[in-house]
Symmetry: C2
């Protein structure tokens, strides 16, 4: 029997043998009932290990092509299965997956605003200037230094870094966090901290701890679309409250809470996404009071805390949370880079302990290797240095964008200078259709994020979000000019 083996082929030898024998059987060269050589015999003749042939025969049996009986050896089956050995998949026999999907899944996921941001990530024209993205400028990332930190972390922590670990996170990083957070005015112990895969996972597990279908979540209108998606995936009822330059209208939150109870209040109080608003001190105070009075848990998303441009750092709500009512979410995505996928939650231990249970049955723990590398990176002062550099670069880009807008935008487009973060929000006259504006600028190679992708409730004003952080300085003015020209062209329409 001749079976050609290609020892340079990555396909394992036993699969090559199995495939060749299957071909012989299907071609009828080995007919029904035909005895195959013993495994010892075939192995000898082919110069392979006997176990290799045993594996090949086992697979032929799984495929229904041969049968094996102790003492009688292996023979081609009398009745070969219709699908035998072929790569063809039989339509008739396929699983009817649709019928098996959970009712919960069917009633939620297909309705979610999934991929709403993909509009902005479409294949770009050569030279496209995308103000739509909120990616940090990755060319600032100190590749060599970070890789060095990975290596030194591996040496320092050894097996502990490579092994499985507790759901809370890599212990040395957890121990480091209270000191790191003290610089934001947050006092906490390591029992009040856990590491998660991005703010999205934080929202997902917090949502699952508190929300039953129909429960109410209050949030800014406009807000971060992925957060809205998480709450809706849990069948929560999301109420959007308008915001202005001083952040969410706490007086209106009060009105909502007078009419209905809510479980969670999700807010981005500092450099809000998408508006860039910073919640004023008065409103912060009142919001904390109100949440306590009404027993609503505040979920504070402080995703760009450190990207402050004017030296007026804003203390998180959590720093003044004297009654254990704020769940604080922070992230290394914007400070360092999104690809690291590490964020954290600070909350009272009674909440963290319960979130840890959910994390345990969700994905056990977050990758530990990068937690170690990040810790080294931060302890060596490299994170701080990286952040300072980012602040300077982003501030400069913001300023270039401001100057360009002053020159090229029509008077009816208004804005406020962002004190930090990644975005510039532009208010447009009521009735402006930001999406059709996008379709126009897109054909000229300029993208931005239109208001509607951020809307929780119907939103009567109009506007757009311009990200400045990741755009090369040389391109900002050109992009703003194109956008300004398009704005001027379309204003006749209103």
């Amino acid at each position: 029997m001749i079976v050609d083996l290609d020892r340079n082929n990555p396909t394992p030898l036993y699969i090559q043998i199995k495939d060749r024998l299957a071909e012989l059987i299907q071609a009828g060269l080995l007919g029904p009932g035909a005895r195959l050589p013993s495994t010892r015999e075939l192995a000898g003749s082919m110069g392979v290990n006997r176990n290799t042939v045993i594996s090949a025969y086992e697979q032929l049996q799984v495929e229904g092509l041969v049968s094996s009986h102790v003492g009688r050896g292996t023979a081609v089956r009398e009745h070969l299965p219709a699908s035998a050995g072929g790569a063809r998949r039989e339509q008739a026999e396929r699983m009817r997956v649709e019928a098996l999907l959970s009712a919960t899944w069917r009633s939620t996921y297909p309705q979610l605003p999934a991929g709403s941001e993909q509009l902005l990530e479409a294949p770009e024209v050569e030279g496209t200037i995308s103000f739509a993205s909120h990616e940090p400028d990755l060319s600032l990332f100190p590749v060599g230094e970070f890789a060095g930190c990975l290596q030194s972390a591996m040496r320092k922590y050894g097996g502990d870094l490579l092994a499985a670990g507790p759901s809370r996170g890599f212990a040395p990083l957890i121990e480091y966090m209270p000191g790191f957070l003290a610089r934001r005015g947050i006092q906490c112990t390591d029992r009040e901290i856990m590491i998660v895969n991005g703010i999205q996972q934080a929202l997902s597990i917090v949502g699952r701890l508190f929300l039953d279908p129909g429960d109410t979540v209050i949030m800014e209108n406009l807000s971060y679309p992925a957060a809205l998606g998480v709450f809706r995936s849990l069948q929560a009822s999301c109420v959007g409250v308008p915001l202005d330059d001083d952040g969410i209208r706490v007086d209106l939150v009060e009105g909502v809470l007078a009419r209905r109870s809510a479980k969670l209040l999700y807010t981005i109080p500092t450099y809000q996404n998408p508006t860039g608003a910073v919640l004023s001190p008065e409103r912060r105070e009142r919001l904390l009071e109100l949440a306590r009075e009404r027993q609503v848990v505040i979920v504070e998303d402080d995703y760009v805390h450190d990207l402050c441009f004017d030296g007026r750092e804003v203390l998180p709500l959590k720093a003044r949370d004297t009654r254990e009512g704020v769940i604080y979410l922070g992230s290394f995505s914007e400070i360092l880079c999104p690809g690291i996928r590490l964020s954290w939650i600070v909350a009272p231990a009674a909440i963290i302990d319960r979130l840890l249970l959910i994390k345990q049955f969700t994905d056990l723990y977050s990758n530990r290797i990068l937690q170690g590398a990040l810790l080294e990176f931060s302890q060596k002062g490299l994170l701080e240095r990286h952040l300072k550099r980012k602040q300077a670069v982003y501030r400069k880009r913001r300023d270039i964008m401001m100057d360009a807008m002053k020159e090229h935008f029509p008077a009816e487009a208004t804005w406020r200078k962002p004190r930090g973060g990644l975005f510039q929000w532009i208010d447009l006259p009521r009735g402006t259709d930001a999406l059709s504006l996008l379709l126009k600028t897109r054909s000229q190679g300029v993208l931005f994020a239109p208001d509607r992708i951020f809307s929780v409730e119907e939103w009567e004003r109009a506007g757009l979000r311009l990200g400045f952080a990741g755009i090369d300085e040389g391109k900002i003015e050109k992009g703003i000019q194109i956008l300004g020209d398009t704005l001027k062209e379309t204003r006749g329409g209103h």
Copy 2:
């Protein structure tokens, strides 16, 4: 006004200023109604940026200590809040978190077998020999080479590796996977693959796609406890089917399916956890047929596929899945190391597309930096080399353990030589209490995993799992001897 600033203190200056002013107010040195200096004035006298003082005043306002009015400046409030400035937390005002937890959470998580494995991870006595762990031997990990791969991946993929990305995974790794999987006999396209955070996340999102409360999941009894936990957290009804040396008793699965319908059949067909059993070719064939007939989705957990010791590699069920009925889960945790937290799912595109939606609202995407490093590591042949080394080391440890067991174990302890994987399963006479055995050996510094932590249904036999992969060769015999002596001492009890 004197405010001492410590510029070497990591606490930001504005917080230092705020804290000092709060002290003055609380001490009554700045009484109710007292006017604070203007921000310009104070900044000048202290030699700090004016914005620093503005931030400090804003925080004092948030804390309810001062009020600020345009034109009138900032003054100490007439009525200071009870909690003002103090770190004391007022019990009376705290959130009553318990009342807010979701009904779903309350009815499931507190009942889960969480931490059942923590028994085995308890603080160890100096010199403890733990056969309980299934950690790979991390001293085999090529730290320098992996760090080098991280660095070259960062250079090669640049921003793409550091940025946010699609839920499916890092595109170059996804494109690489079909070739990687072909070596396991699995034919698939990149649309049928996604990357997840460990097999736990795979189980969690697969469970959420298919399971409503009360739905049935069939699994081996005994099985992987974390999988049981995931299904129970989704309120599924888990049915455990006995297994023997040839894997799950497919005839009994058939019996179960004759009486009730099931959504999922979760199986570890190769080097089963905890028994090490390999599902026989006949049973594989019948299981695939049965699942098709009864429209049950097979969830195949092939977590240690590559750790084969005898050259008889076992092709996964997925390799013969001609009717799109198998969801295949594989992992880099055991091949490389758990700390990398990267696994994958192979399933028909119609299932993957839906799982991607769940992943999107769960944690958006898995860390991309390590996906890139892993890809480099594999493409350079280092993963293959690492695996070969592991195989050789683990096989040797298995053999040492076998020899030691022959010498030290009493006749009533029986076992079968594992063909691969990380564990040796020992059958003990019915009625043996493996947990009380553990308590005895523990005091002598020997740990193992007793049967009960793996039980899905009541399990009439008795046994224990011994992990050999991560234990230094020199310690295996000593541990086995202690265990054997304890077994002999206790047999009188039956």
